[in-house]
């Protein structure tokens, strides 16, 4: 016990609270590394939330629910991909429109699903491992999506850093003209990156409607997508930093509520604004060292590509 708060429980719940943001942020990170700025994360998340919810309720399987959520997010991102990659629409405007569209469409799709309880996603049975003091709760006491979110971060880091696929993706994001000249299919690679980003955002959304708040209500993501977007930038487009950012944000959000519940004598106004302030501060300081953060931004970010030759 520490100031009336059990740190074990706190860490365990911050891991859960951060999952939607991590998933969405890592998806967006890959998209931006490919040189595309998709501001529609919030819209794709909420589509994932509603599609995942519908799929889980109709099939009775939470796993299929998550598959449905990823499909829903990816389907919405396909609209963005077609508009920006083939019709060369402005990425900022299209992304914002995507959010508005996603919010409205999800509300329509969810009409018949208000007030229903989805099938529950259980904790992965680790048997005796879960009974280890402290470690058991933190490491072995979660549902499978929590582990998946960490695995996705590790995979994104490894792929971007050490594989040919990652190198090509980054090349497309840094200079699409050079990548094109080398014979890489810029448009196809970006399409795939956008679909991946949509799928991840959808998965994050589905986690909100299936696990964190197991229900469907309009506007259920309430801004998580925007937080994910901000974390990508403040994490200087590095996967592990995005994880740190999401854990910081989720952690301080949970901590401030716990501090309130534990009756800490800190004014609530400071507690409520703490997650935003501290996350930004820490990530800015982390990124301000040797390499300047701004230089990490993919050079072709947000620019449309049109093969003129």
């Amino acid at each position: 016990m520490f100031g009336g708060i059990d740190p074990t429980l706190l860490i365990a719940s911050l891991m859960v609270a951060s999952v939607p943001i991590i998933l969405a942020a890592i998806g967006e990170l890959v998209v931006e590394r490919a040189g595309v700025l998709n501001l529609g994360v919030e819209g794709m998340m909420i589509m994932g939330a509603v599609c995942g919810f519908i799929a889980a309720v109709e099939t009775g399987s939470p796993v299929l629910g998550f598959v449905g959520g990823a499909a829903g997010g990816a389907a919405l991102s396909l609209i963005f991909a077609v508009l920006t990659q083939f019709l060369l629409a402005n990425q900022v405007a299209t992304g914002l429109a995507l959010t508005l569209f996603g919010l409205g469409l999800s509300s329509l799709l969810g009409q018949g699903y208000v007030g229903i309880k989805p099938p529950l996603t259980g904790v992965v049975p680790f048997g005796p491992l879960a009974d280890i003091p402290v470690l058991g709760k933190i490491v072995f006491g979660h549902d499978w999506v929590v582990y998946l979110s960490i695995a996705v971060v590790a995979a994104a880091w490894w792929v971007l850093k050490s594989t040919r696929m990652g190198l090509i993706l980054r090349a497309v994001g840094e200079s699409h003209d050079a990548a094109h000249a080398l014979g890489y299919k810029v448009r196809r690679i970006r399409m795939l990156a956008i679909l991946f980003g949509g799928g991840m955002a959808g998965l994050g959304g589905a986690y909100i409607s299936l696990v964190r708040v197991p229900q469907w209500t309009d506007g259920i993501t309430s801004g998580a997508g925007w937080i994910a977007l901000a974390i990508v930038v403040f994490a200087a487009w590095r996967p592990w930093r995005a994880l740190v950012g999401a854990y910081l944000f989720g952690g301080i959000t949970v901590l401030q509520l716990n501090l309130q519940a534990a009756g800490a004598r800190i004014p609530v106004e400071y507690l409520s604004s703490a997650p935003y302030l501290i996350t930004i501060l820490v990530l800015v300081i982390m990124s301000s060292g040797r390499g300047k953060a701004a230089l990490n931004a993919p050079a072709s970010l947000g620019q449309n590509f049109h093969a003129s030759r």
């Binding site: 719940s13 007030g115 909100i208 506007g219 309430s222 949970v254 106004e269």
Partner: protein, 363 residues
């Protein structure tokens, strides 16, 4: 002084002459408009206002056109939406959140022929602005009674939205009645600073449960706190807020406060049709049927249920007021003397906790 009186009288006369003439006109067809702060699918506050709007449609059929807009932010956007509605021919506009107060009055000044009805506010700066509210604290008193009897850990919780009098009133009523039946009870208040954010509401409930709280009342608009309590397999109970939230019966939802706006909306729109609408300030409660207590489920022992229902009936009959002295403020100073009943003015401006609640109200 004299001149001012004269001017005032003249102005009054003018407004009577014109406003009166316009107001007395009966309408063949009226357009009733509603502005909601959240989605109507929240199953709580906005949902319940929308049920009232649907009741208006059902009551008057073709004579009334009902229009609504969801998710209107409190602030500058509200003014834009209200102006748009007034321009589009609405005869009466219901603005259903506290934060629309200034926007409602500002737009009302520009459209003297349109009637405005603001929920839970206190500003009526123009003759075409009326206010209405419900005595939610009466329901909170009953929840407090149940909470005090049902808690095993002697820790009860309250998820606050914003530190406004209506919410503080609810917290005080809840705590006083829990304390009355269980002197050992401790209240934990968590401020969410939002009306609607399911994930945050769930996190707030979770934080309380981790602190050992086993009865949670919420003043936010979604069912998320109940969904979180449902994960505890019956160890934690809560209440439906604003709407019945019957999907969570019999546990964790053991009772609820239902805001029944329908009779008021039907009456006021009817007055617009007849041309008899006048500015009013209505604060109705259990007695008038505006606040209803949802079914107390089988999880609550029969004797506790009977006591809670007796309190409900006493409040309805006017023989019991939830704020009856002696009650002291948090700092120990006296608020209500023995047997004294809280005046409405004190309640509507309530900015203090009663004795025994720990922590401060955010400024």
């Amino acid at each position: 002084m004299k001149r001012r009186t004269l001017l005032a009288t003249a102005a009054l006369g003018l407004s009577m002459a014109f406003g009166g003439a316009a107001g007395a006109q009966a309408l063949d067809k009226a357009k009733a408009c509603f502005v909601y702060v959240g989605p109507i699918g929240d199953l709580g506050w906005s949902y319940q206002h929308h049920q009232g709007a649907l009741a208006v449609q059902a009551a008057y059929g073709d004579k009334v056109e009902v229009v609504w807009q969801e998710n209107v932010p409190e602030g500058a956007d509200a003014e834009r939406v209200l102006t748009q509605m007034a321009l589009s021919g609405c005869n009466i506009i219901f603005t259903t959140s506290f934060g629309y107060m200034d926007a409602t009055n500002a737009v009302a000044a520009k459209f003297p022929d349109v009637k405005f009805e603001h929920a839970t506010g206190f500003k009526r700066e123009h003759p075409n602005v009326a206010t209405y509210n419900a005595r939610f604290y009466e329901g909170r008193a009953i929840q407090g009674h149940i909470a005090g009897k049902m808690t095993k850990s002697n820790k009860i919780g309250y998820i606050g939205s914003f530190p406004i009098p209506e919410v503080v009133m609810g917290i005080n009523a809840y705590y006083l009645h829990a304390k009355k039946v269980n002197p050992a009870v401790e209240l934990t208040v968590v401020w969410a600073f939002t009306w609607f954010d399911p994930a945050k509401e769930a996190d707030a409930a979770k934080a309380m449960i981790e602190q050992g709280v086993d009865v949670i009342a919420s003043h936010t608009d979604s069912t998320a706190p109940l969904a979180e309590a449902a994960k505890s397999n019956g160890a934690v109970i809560g209440f439906g807020q604003a709407s019945d939230m019957a999907d969570y019966k019999p546990s964790p939802r053991v009772s609820s406060i239902i805001d029944n706006w329908a009779p008021y909306y039907v009456k006021r729109v009817g007055e617009v049709l007849e041309g008899t609408w006048t500015q009013t300030d209505v604060w109705a409660g259990i007695k008038e049927g505006e606040v209803e207590i949802g079914e107390i489920t089988s999880v609550v022992p029969a004797d506790v249920k009977a006591e809670a229902e007796a309190m409900r009936d006493a409040i309805a009959a006017g023989t019991y007021h939830p704020f009856t002295g002696p009650i002291k403020k948090q700092d120990g100073s006296e608020w209500l003397a023995e047997g004294a009943v809280a005046p409405d003015g004190d309640l509507l401006g309530m900015n203090f906790y009663v004795e025994g609640i720990t922590g401060d109200i955010p400024k």
